[in-house]
Symmetry: C2
Subunit: 202 residues, 2 copies
């Protein structure tokens, strides 16, 4: 195996570097992460790392790009047009939360770290905006007789915000995916604590 790592295809080596970078960024945060630490985690030399990614910013952008792509792919099943809208929303919730559960580092880097950096925040916001649009569409499609003043976009903002907050708890191992999906589904359709009850008519 002497020198074996040098013969790895470029694409494989890139993925290894990104794997290491996502881990270190999620543990230490963008500003506290050094290229040295990432090179060490990936078991390569720092010059090699710089050969592939010219700067920490470039490497971080590549991480967001890859993780964002995975995130979008994870949500794809929710787009199945054969499912009724409400089932699509359930699938979207489970896909979203399941992704966070299986890719905790990814979640920390993709959302929490990247949103914190003004240079990268727009990249993440555009993914979030697509998620909000999808959610608004599913809420609207599955609501019978909506009241005329219902603003589905701001509802979707609220639901996605709730989903992100709950996702943080999943990433922290505090709640499991099925329970979290039930909670958010209730949030959308029945309310949290007051389900199946109304205090005041009209």
């Amino acid at each position: 195996m002497a020198g074996g790592t040098k013969r790895l295809p470029r694409a494989v080596r890139e993925q290894q570097m990104l794997d290491a970078a996502v881990e270190v960024f999620s543990e230490k945060g963008f500003h506290e992460t050094s290229m040295d630490a990432i090179a060490a985690r990936a078991s390569i030399s720092k010059p090699m790392l710089y050969l592939y990614y010219g700067s920490k910013d470039e490497l971080f952008a590549a991480c967001i790009g890859r993780e964002g792509q995975r995130f979008v792919e994870a949500l794809a099943p929710a787009g199945d047009p054969n499912l009724p809208p409400r089932a699509q929303l359930r699938v979207a919730l489970e896909s979203f939360l399941g992704f966070v559960d299986e890719h905790r580092h990814s979640w920390m880097v993709l959302y929490r770290q990247a949103l914190a950096q003004q240079a990268f925040a727009n990249q993440v916001r555009s993914s979030r905006d697509r998620l909000i649009e999808l959610t608004a569409h599913l809420l609207e499609s599955s609501t019978r007789d909506p009241e005329p003043d219902m603003d589905f976009t701001i509802m979707a903002v609220a639901l996605v915000g709730a989903g992100e907050a709950v996702a943080d708890r999943i990433a922290g191992g505090e709640i499991d995916v099925a329970k979290a999906a039930d909670l958010l589904e209730n949030l959308a359709w029945r309310g949290l604590a007051g389900r199946r009850r109304t205090d005041t008519p009209g």
Copy 2:
């Protein structure tokens, strides 16, 4: 008025510096903000600024401290023990969203910027945790016959997450406080889109 600003009491000058700092931090973000820019905004010299606040980190921490205190004060009316829990939750929502509406820079600095900096995130998280505890308590107090497996803490996490996401839209001028408070109240008690309807019995 020659030399007048030099005779300002220390406490007044401190507040002016913090006002300027909160503005600039909220506009540019922590890392892109320079002490020069803050001194210029406050119409004082940079040495004077350093005399009061020894570093950008120290100044940012002072901003978070002051804005956090204001935030907690704004929520105080919700703690009125003479109100029933559900009315307390409504007051808490309106106080929270009203604070964001009136102090948009504060919101951007307090929450969004500070959470992004690992060194300051704990300071904000502890305020957020108190808000989650308060919300969980109010949800639990106002739910009659709760199901045995109801986890009010994670419900509160979801509701506060939704509130933060909606607050961002208030800070951006996209929705007004009353409409946002109605939305979040519905979220807590009746669900978003499915209000007053249930699809499946049991």
